[in-house]
C-alpha cells in the first residue's frame, strides 16, 4: 500500500471529489495561487481552474458567508481556514447560520459545506493562533465535527464530509501534515460517527482524538514495555456524531479509562464523554474516569512551557498507573 503524507491524503480527497462532482469548489486565503498555506491544495488550481479554486481577501466572515450562500443554492463548497482560530471572526456565519438553516427552513434547505483547516497548539504560534475549538463546534446542534489523525482517516473522512449534506467541520493539525501513513489507491470512505480502535488492549482504555491519539499509542507502548500493561487506544475520529457504542464497549472490556485531548479541560469534549461513560457503563467501572487535557491556560508562547501544556506520553502513563 502506498505510504503518503497527511497533507497529500487531504489533497487526494479534494482532487477525487472535485473530479467526481463538479459542484465541489474550494475557497479560502491563498488556496489557489499559493497552493494553500500548508500546501494541502497544491496543484488543484492548475487542474480545476480559477472558477473552482478561489483565493479570497482576508475576510473570514465574508467568504464563509459566501460559501454558506453557495451551498444553499446547490453548490458544495470546501472552505479552508488558515487556522481554525480564525473561524472566531466567522462565528455567526458558521455556528449560527450554517448550523441552523436546515432546521429553520423546515428541512427545505441544506447547507452541504465543509469547513477545514488546522486546529492545534504545539507550534509556538501563540495564544490567538493555537485554538482547538472542536468542543465549541461539537456543542452546536446542526454541526458535524471530525478530527482525523492518520493520512488514511484524513482522506476517508474528508471525502465523506464533502458528500455529507450538512455542515462538517474538519479539524486538522499542522504537526500532522508532514506525517506519513498507508493510504490505498482504490477509493474508500469512512463513515462519520464511527470510532476506530487503533490498538486493542485488555487492561485500560485510552480515548482520544486528533494528535492525542498518537500520544496515547506511545503511552501504550511504554506501558507494555515497562509495566506489562495492555492498553487499548480508541480514536474517536468523529466528535459529532459520536460513537458511544465503541466507547462503552471498550470501557466494558477494560473497566478503566483515561480520556486524552489537546483541548483545554473546562467544558471540553472529554467532559461530555466522561458523562456518557458514567451514565451508560457505570457498573463496569473499576476505577474513576481520568482525564488529561491541555493545561488550563491560554496557549503558552514559550516552546518549553507549551510542550508541558499539551498532553505527552509520560503524563498519560502516570495517569494510567494511578488507577491500575
Amino acid at each position: 500500500m502506498p505510504v503518503i503524507y497527511y497533507r497529500d491524503a487531504l489533497n487526494a480527497a479534494l482532487d477525487e471529489e472535485m473530479i467526481r462532482d463538479d459542484r465541489v469548489f474550494i475557497m479560502g486565503e491563498e488556496v489557489a495561487e499559493y497552493n494553500g498555506a500548508y500546501k494541502v491544495t497544491k496543484g488543484l488550481l492548475d487542474k480545476f481552474g480559477s472558477q473552482r479554486m478561489l483565493d479570497t481577501p482576508i475576510s473570514e466572515s465574508a467568504f464563509s458567508g459566501l460559501g454558506i450562500g453557495a451551498s444553499m443554492m446547490g453548490l458544495r463548497p470546501v472552505i479552508e481556514f488558515m487556522f481554525w482560530s480564525f473561524t472566531y471572526v466567522a462565528f455567526d456565519q458558521i455556528f449560527n447560520n450554517a448550523a441552523n438553516i436546515r432546521y429553520m427552513s423546515g428541512g427545505l434547505v441544506n447547507v452541504p459545506i465543509v469547513i477545514r483547516g488546522p486546529a492545534n497548539g504545539g507550534t509556538g504560534v501563540g495564544a490567538t493562533h493555537s485554538h482547538t475549538p472542536e468542543n465549541y463546534a461539537a456543542s452546536t446542534p446542526g454541526i458535524k465535527v471530525v478530527c482525523p489523525v492518520t493520512p488514511y482517516d484524513a482522506k476517508g473522512l474528508l471525502k465523506t464530509a464533502i458528500r455529507d449534506n450538512d455542515p462538517v467541520c474538519v479539524m486538522e493539525n499542522t504537526l500532522l501534515y508532514g506525517m506519513t501513513g498507508e493510504v490505498p489507491d482504490e477509493e474508500y470512505l469512512i463513515p462519520l460517527g464511527k470510532a476506530d480502535i487503533k490498538k486493542e488492549g485488555l487492561d485500560i482504555t485510552f480515548i482520544a482524538h486528533g494528535r492525542a491519539v498518537l500520544t496515547c499509542l506511545k503511552a501504550a507502548e511504554i506501558l507494555e514495555a515497562e509495566y506489562e500493561i495492555d492498553a487499548e487506544v480508541v480514536d474517536l475520529r468523529s466528535l459529532r456524531p459520536l460513537d458511544e457504542e465503541t466507547i462503552c464497549d471498550s470501557v466494558k472490556k477494560t473497566n478503566r479509562v483515561v480520556l486524552v485531548e489537546e483541548n483545554k479541560p473546562y467544558c471540553g469534549t472529554d467532559a461530555q464523554i466522561a458523562y456518557i461513560i458514567q451514565d451508560k457503563a457505570f457498573d463496569y467501572l473499576d476505577a474513576p474516569i481520568k482525564r488529561i487535557s491541555a493545561v488550563d491556560a491560554p496557549q503558552i508562547y514559550s516552546p518549553v512551557l507549551e510542550k508541558e501544556q499539551i498532553p505527552y506520553p509520560q503524563r498519560v502513563v502516570q495517569t494510567a498507573l494511578s488507577i491500575l
Binding site: N255, F282, D283, Y284, L285, D286, A287, S322, I323
Partner: protein, 422 residues
C-alpha cells in the same frame, strides 16, 4: 427486598400488611421485615395495586430479590428475576444438634469466610468501584468482608474475585455430628432451629473480632460504697418527683457510663479505632450498651456521653432499652460507637471479659457489686461493696499500659463520684 441496614444481606418477611388486590399508595407500609438488627417497616416505592406476592410470611429473601409486584389492576405479573433466587428458610443440616442421625459420615458445610476488613468501618461508606460493587452483589459477598487493594483502599474487581476464590477453597469444614441420646428422658427435644438474622450477625461479628483482634484482658476492683451512697441519696431526692420536674431513678449503669466518658477525658487514647494503616482518634465518646433481647443481643449507642448529664444518659438508655426489646431500633441507633460496655452483674457474675465490638478498641465488662472484707485506710477489716470492672483491649491500637491507665482513671472517678460533677 431493599437493604434496610448497612450490614444486611437477607431480610425475613415477618408479615404482609397489604393483600393481593389491595391498592397501595407510594410511601405506604406494605410489609414488616426483620433485618439482621431490627424489625422494620417496608414502604412501597410506587403507587398501584398489589398484583402478586412472590414470598410468604416467614420467608427469608435476599437483598434485591423481588418480594411482590405492584401495577395496574388486571396486569399480569412478571416471573421473578432469575438472577436473584428466592430462598425459603429450611432447617439447617443440624450438625450441632445431631438431628442428621441418618448419616454417620462427616458432612461438609460451607462457611462464608469473614475476615475483618481492616479498612472498612461500620457506619462509614465502604470504598468500592462500581464494578466491584456489582460483582459483589451478584455473588452475595458482603463488601465489608473484602479488603480493598485499590487506591485509597478501594475495593476493586480483583479483590472481589480474590475473595470469591478464597471463599471456595478455605471454607469447607468437616464436622461429625454428635450422636443422639440413646435412652432415658431427654433434657429437651432434639430439634434444629434455623439461625435468625440476628444470630447470624452475632456469630459473624464476634468470630471476626476474636479471630482478628489480639485481645488482652485487665481487671480492676472498685470500692463501690461511695457510688452506692451517692446513688441512694440522689434517688431519694429525685425518685418521687414528676418526670417534668427532674424526677428520675438512676441506676449504677448510668453512673458507670458517665464515669466511662469522664475517664476518656483523661485517657483519650483509648477512644480510638484500628484502621489498618492508621489509628483513628475519635473526638466524642459514643458508648454502645449491650442489651440482651429475646433471641440474642443488641448494642444500641448512646452518643456524645461526654457532653451529657446523668439524667440525660439515664433517660436515653431507658428509651433505647425499650426500643431494643420491641426491635424498633433504627440502624442509626446501632452504629457509630467508640467503646462498648456490658454488664452481667444482675446474674451475680462477679467478673468476666467480653469480646471487643469492632471498630472499638476496648470493651468494659461490669460485674455484680458484692460484699467483701476489705482493708480501709486505717488498716481495719471492714465490709466493703466491691465491683470488678474488666477491660478487653485491642493490642494493635491500645497497649496494656494505656488500658491500665484508663482503668485506674475510671476507678478514681467511680470511687470519688463527686468527680462526675466537674
Amino acid at each position: 427486598m431493599p437493604k434496610l441496614s448497612d450490614t444486611q444481606t437477607v431480610g425475613t418477611l415477618i408479615s404482609w400488611l397489604k393483600k393481593t388486590g389491595e391498592k397501595v399508595e407510594k410511601g405506604e407500609i406494605i410489609a414488616e421485615v426483620e433485618t439482621d438488627k431490627a424489625t422494620m417497616e417496608l414502604e412501597s416505592f410506587v403507587a398501584g395495586v398489589l398484583i402478586t406476592q412472590y414470598v410468604n410470611e416467614g420467608d427469608e429473601v435476599e437483598i434485591g430479590a423481588p418480594i411482590c409486584a405492584i401495577g395496574k389492576t388486571g396486569e399480569k405479573p412478571r416471573s421473578p428475576d432469575k438472577r436473584s433466587p428466592l430462598r425459603n428458610v429450611e432447617p439447617d443440616p443440624g450438625f450441632l444438634t445431631g438431628s442428621r442421625q441418618d448419616t454417620e459420615a462427616p458432612i461438609s458445610i460451607d462457611v462464608t469466610p469473614t475476615p475483618l476488613a481492616e479498612k472498612s468501618v461500620p457506619g462509614d461508606r465502604i470504598k468500592a468501584s462500581p464494578l466491584a460493587r456489582k460483582i459483589a452483589t451478584e455473588e452475595g459477598i458482603p463488601l465489608e468482608t473484602i479488603s480493598g487493594t485499590g487506591p485509597d483502599g478501594r475495593v476493586v474487581k480483583a479483590d472481589v474475585i480474590a475473595a470469591m476464590e478464597k471463599g471456595t477453597t478455605e471454607s469447607r469444614l468437616s464436622i461429625t455430628p454428635p450422636k443422639k441420646s440413646s435412652a432415658g428422658i431427654p433434657i429437651a427435644d432434639e430439634t434444629s432451629v434455623p439461625v435468625s438474622n440476628m444470630r447470624e450477625i452475632i456469630a459473624k461479628r464476634l468470630l471476626e473480632s476474636k479471630k482478628t483482634i489480639p485481645h488482652y484482658y485487665l481487671d480492676i476492683e472498685i470500692n463501690a460504697t461511695p457510688l452506692l451512697e451517692v446513688r441512694a441519696s440522689l434517688n431519694k431526692s429525685l425518685n418521687d418527683l414528676p418526670p417534668d420536674r427532674g424526677g428520675i431513678k438512676l441506676t449504677i449503669n448510668d453512673f458507670f457510663l458517665k464515669a466511662c466518658a469522664k475517664a476518656m477525658h483523661q485517657v483519650p487514647a483509648v477512644n480510638v479505632s484500628w484502621m489498618g494503616k492508621s489509628i483513628q482518634q475519635h473526638s466524642g465518646v459514643h458508648i454502645a450498651v449491650a442489651i440482651a433481647v429475646e433471641d440474642g443481643l443488641v448494642t444500641p449507642v448512646v452518643r456524645d456521653v461526654h457532653l451529657k448529664s446523668l439524667s440525660e444518659i439515664s433517660t436515653e438508655v431507658k428509651t433505647l432499652a425499650v426500643k431494643a426489646k420491641n426491635k424498633k431500633l433504627s440502624p442509626n441507633e446501632l452504629t457509630g460507637s467508640t467503646i462498648t460496655t456490658t454488664n452481667l452483674g444482675m446474674f451475680g457474675i462477679s467478673s468476666f471479659h467480653a469480646i471487643i465490638n469492632p471498630p472499638n478498641s476496648a470493651i468494659l465488662s461490669v460485674g455484680a457489686i458484692v460484699k467483701k472484707p476489705i482493708v480501709d485506710d486505717d488498716d481495719n477489716i471492714i465490709v466493703g461493696q466491691c465491683m470488678t470492672v474488666g477491660f478487653s483491649g485491642d493490642h494493635r491500637s491500645v497497649d496494656g499500659a494505656l488500658g491500665a491507665e484508663y482503668l485506674s482513671a475510671l476507678k478514681a472517678i467511680l470511687e470519688t463520684p463527686a468527680l462526675m460533677l466537674i
